[in-house]
Amino acid sequence: MKVSLTRWAAWAPGIDTPDAWRAWAHSPVTLAKEGVPEAKFLPAMLRRRCTPLTRTMLAAAYACVDADELPRLRTVFASRHGSINESIGLLEAVVRREKLSPATFSHTVHNAQAGLFSIAAGNRAASSSLAAQEDTWACAWLEALTFLEREPSAPVLVVIGDVPLAETFAALVDEPAVPYAFACRLASAGGAAGIELTLAEADAPLPRPPWPHALEFLRWWLSDEPALVQGSRATRYEFRRT
């Protein structure tokens, strides 16, 4: 299924406007390892309860679409690590046989960002949250396509993001560890120009960009290259302009 990418927004420390991202895409550099967006669009009480990841992902989501669409679009939230940093403190409490904080526990479900977005935006539409190790971005795209398969006439907001893993687990993961989020609005393209994703079997893992796959996708989208191929394991995901 061909889709049109009609809106996008991204956030990384110091790069948070479309012009800044265009400049980055033109001559990309590695991204800063620390930073959290202010997320002033959130009510103060809700903002206080948001983890750095939630603020980062919601900043991209809110910058991506107009206010009238925030309560209506179906959403796909994707993150490789999700709230694992918050889970570490809970795991240590479990090991020490201490009581857990119910608020922290509630915010460690993988769909916490989706749930808080739904509450903040008053959005009652279908929503999904996923993870797929190093292929999380391509699978988020596929999951958005499943929403369009079920209801082709309604666009989908895709939001992906991560923050660096805390020291407990950081050494176990060999992937660029930077805080970032990327959001895009996808709609069925029909006969118009769009992006087609095709899958094929891979012989070997593909070389990995020095920044997250979703931002490599953004770099590609802002370039004039015809196709982008990603895939960490046995599957090649090829995005192509049509």
Binding site: M1, L91, S106, T108, H110, R124, A125, E149, R150, R233
Partner: protein
Amino acid sequence: MKRTPCSLAALGQVNALGKTNAEIAPRLFAGDTSGLVLRDDLVPGRSLLFGAVRDPLPEIPARLARFACRNNRLALAALEQIGAEVDAALSRFGRARIGIVVGTSTSGVGDAEEAIAVRERTGALAREFDYAQLEFGGLAGFLAEATGARGPAYTLSTACSSGARALASARSLVALGYCDAVISGAADSLCGLTANGFASLGALSERVTNPCSRNRDGLTLGEGAALFLVTSDPGGVQLLGVGESSEAHHISAPDPEGNGAEAAMRGALTDAGLSPGDIAYLNLHGTGTPQNDPMECAAVARVFGTGLPCSSTKALIGHALGAAGALEAAFCWLALAGRSRGELPLPPHVFDGERDPALAPIRLTIKGETARVGAHPRVMTNSFGFGGNNCTLVLGTDGDA
């Protein structure tokens, strides 16, 4: 538009009732709660009932040692039951055409607890611990490696609706032509994090969970796995409809009016092209918490009235969280597969019999109850997750049984 058929062609499952469909079905229809066990090792100072899987689980093969955690062993126990069908699909379609979409809320967090306990003692994580055990995507990654499937592989994690959502996505990936078959379902494992997390919310029952009772005081946690082989073949048990909604209400409590639940049920009926009267049985989310049951009963009554046979099966296996949606779809599958001479066996609603008079008076099934059905029996299952994520499925047969 006529939908592509979505066959739930094979099913493997493991839970507190047993480790095969043949073992689980009679206990399910008998309302057997003997699978629940008292454990005092999960929540400090409390001895609580859990739907723990006591059967020995298969070992993770040595070549996949990085995935060796209880959650993946539960998934492997379900996978082994459909090994012949998965192998047949691999030869029929080719490995690149087989996808994996599964749900979990825990992944291997129980094993991460052990790794962190070692770290507290020694300063370093347990050597056998690998991040692939803990990260949510690891479940799909494990199943891809274990089966050799080389299509897309991802894990959905929307708390207690994860398992239902996985089947919805699997159906769409086949309909879109990205896969010819998808191994789909869910696995979730008992662990200190969820047990103490729900304890901190005051959500765990002191006794066996007691859905729809005036005495209900929370949920009983469980674990398990259910995996289906999803194809576009006609016949057998089919996934006919999917309904989805978000609550926009509260991170850990449902909208008391049940509007999100109602939207999910109505959406599933619309998607399946059915009317409320076409449904023969509803498997409730039915967690037995003070908040869930009133809103769910009210929503069910608004959609179906009070005549539809309904039950919660949470008292039999506990609430398996991320796997609940897949396990309850599996119970619906067993009911449909168990049809005989136009009678559908129904899982009984197991509770103390003291109906909460404040709940909408929906019809709860009793032991031994069957539903008289025509050539096309259709059943429904509800899953409502933390964060306000709802997913309702409709399953049915083509009438060839």
